[in-house]
Every structure is written in structure tokens, then in C-alpha cells.
Symmetry: C2
């Protein structure tokens, strides 16, 4: 027989709950806000905009699909669908990768770059208004550090990459 009881879970303290709720509210409100802002002004959701930004900063405005997916923290499947849509808009072009016949490069077109040029100011203004105009310099630094720590803990590092005993 198994007499073990599941251990009483460590619930959140009142203070932690307050923080967690505030986190959920702020992040969902902001994401909705930016999604609407960009959908209205740039004709695409926030995540798609982020893809164009990544491409615009890459050498030759070109990135391998897998790399872009990693940078943007999304699955390759999602990226495939997204690039298909952006390609239909004429903002991104696909190219075969010369060195690896399995590979695809996503390339930001001039049109895509133009969209970015036209809409970036409005987007930055929205971000600024939501965050940086409301926080002290100290808080911005704190936020940066906190988010860095959180992101590190969530990085989907290759499973087993840190498990030498499985190699």
C-alpha cells in the first residue's frame, strides 16, 4: 500500500498573491493595448511586428527561420504561419538557404522596412506611455533585472542539455 500523502502545497502568501495579480493584470492589459495599437496603425499583431523588428536588425535583414523563432520566443510552427501571412503582405520574402537545403531564410523587404519606419514612432510612444513615462529610473532598472531573472528560469534550453548523466 501507499500511505504517502501529497504534501500540502506551498500556497502564495498574501503579498505574493497581490504581486501575482498585479502582474497578470498589467501584462494582459499591456499586451492587449499594444496588439490593438499595432493592429490599427500597422495592420498586424504585436508579435508579427516584433518579427519585422528582429529582421530589420539582422545583417542583410535576413534570418534563418529557426533562429528567428528562437529570438522571438515562438515555436517554428507559429513562425511558419506568421511568415506566410507577412509574405502575403509583401513585407517579408522567403529564400532558400544556400548552405543547407533544408533551410529557409526570411528576408525583410523594402516595403516591410517602410512599414516599420512609418509605425515605429507610434509604437515606441505607446510603450513609453505605458511603462517608461510612469516608472522611475530606479524602477526601470529593477524591472529589467527581475525580468532577466525570470526569463533565464524559463528558457527552454534544450531538454537534457543540463543533464550530463543522460549523455
Amino acid at each position: 500500500m501507499n500511505d504517502e500523502q501529497p504534501p500540502e502545497p506551498r500556497w502564495l502568501t498574501t503579498e505574493e498573491q497581490r504581486t501575482w495579480r498585479a502582474y497578470l493584470h498589467a501584462t494582459t492589459l499591456l499586451e492587449d493595448h499594444l496588439d490593438r495599437q499595432l493592429q490599427r496603425d500597422a495592420g498586424m499583431p504585436h508579435i508579427y511586428y516584433g518579427l519585422l523588428v528582429q529582421l530589420s536588425q539582422a545583417p542583410r535583414r535576413t534570418l534563418r527561420m529557426t533562429q528567428l523563432a528562437k529570438d522571438a520566443k515562438i515555436t517554428r510552427s507559429r513562425l511558419s504561419h506568421a511568415i506566410a501571412r507577412l509574405e502575403k503582405n509583401g513585407w517579408v520574402r522567403r529564400e532558400d538557404c544556400p548552405s543547407d537545403k533544408r533551410g529557409q531564410n526570411a528576408v525583410l523587404t523594402d516595403e516591410g522596412y517602410g512599414v516599420l519606419e512609418r509605425t515605429a514612432p507610434g509604437h515606441v510612444a505607446a510603450v513609453r506611455q505605458a511603462i517608461f513615462d510612469r516608472l522611475s529610473a530606479e524602477q526601470v532598472a529593477q524591472l529589467g533585472e527581475i525580468m532577466k531573472v525570470m526569463a533565464e528560469g524559463l528558457q527552454p534550453t534544450d531538454v537534457n542539455a543540463d543533464l550530463p548523466w543522460l549523455r
Copy 2:
């Protein structure tokens, strides 16, 4: 003629960019992580789980649709679809509101409560592992304050509610 130039937008400083990127990475990674965790263990996305939690804490486990939508920071349309799905699962029931024939109440069923009981420990553990186990008490307090400020700035207060000259 119009000689006005659009003012050069105030771009983000390097420090602000770093913080903004960290924010985007951490929030998308966490949301994906929790969505998968709950989809796997509770059979619903994070936001749906949040709806059940709200209901579980309301008197008589009942809430008007509009109120629930406000609490969860989602549109009424989205809520309608969500409740329809949860109703199909038998976790929520709709009731006509006695005092207002337009109104609908969402009620958490016993089954719904059961799902919550069974899955809450795992969910809390995931949240704890992603945030509270990795941050100092001080950082938790900072995060709470920062998120509170951000949420306040994004609150979709009724348009015009703060514009007395339009009344």
C-alpha cells in the same frame, strides 16, 4: 502649405531597450509555459483557469458576466465564447439574472470546483518556480509596485469618464 515636421520620436535609451526586451521575453515565455502546463494538467488555457479562480472566490461562486469580464480584463465577447466552452465541459453553468432580465450569471459547478482543487497545487508550483522562488522578497515587492503602476496607466476606464467637459 504645411511646413510642420513630425517631431523626432523619443526612442528608447539602451537601458530602456534592454529592459523592454527582457520584459517581452519573460512575459511571453511565462505565458506560454503556464498555458502549456494548464492545458496539459487541467485541459484549459491559462485565461480560462483564471475565470474559474475568480468564480471560486465570489459569493455563491457566482458572478455577472460583465463583472467577470472586468475582473479578468477581457472583452465580453471573449468571455461569452470562453464560458460557452467551459459550460460544455460542465465546469460552469449559466443562470438568468433575477434582477435584470438582460443579465446572465456564470456559476462555478462542483465539477469545476473539483478541477480547481486538483490542479491548483500544480499551477501554484509552476508560478512559484517561475517567479517567487527566483526573486528576493525585495524584488517581489518591487515587482508588485511596478505592475500596479503599469496596470493603473492601462486601465480602460470608461472612455470620457475623466473628461467632464464632454458630459
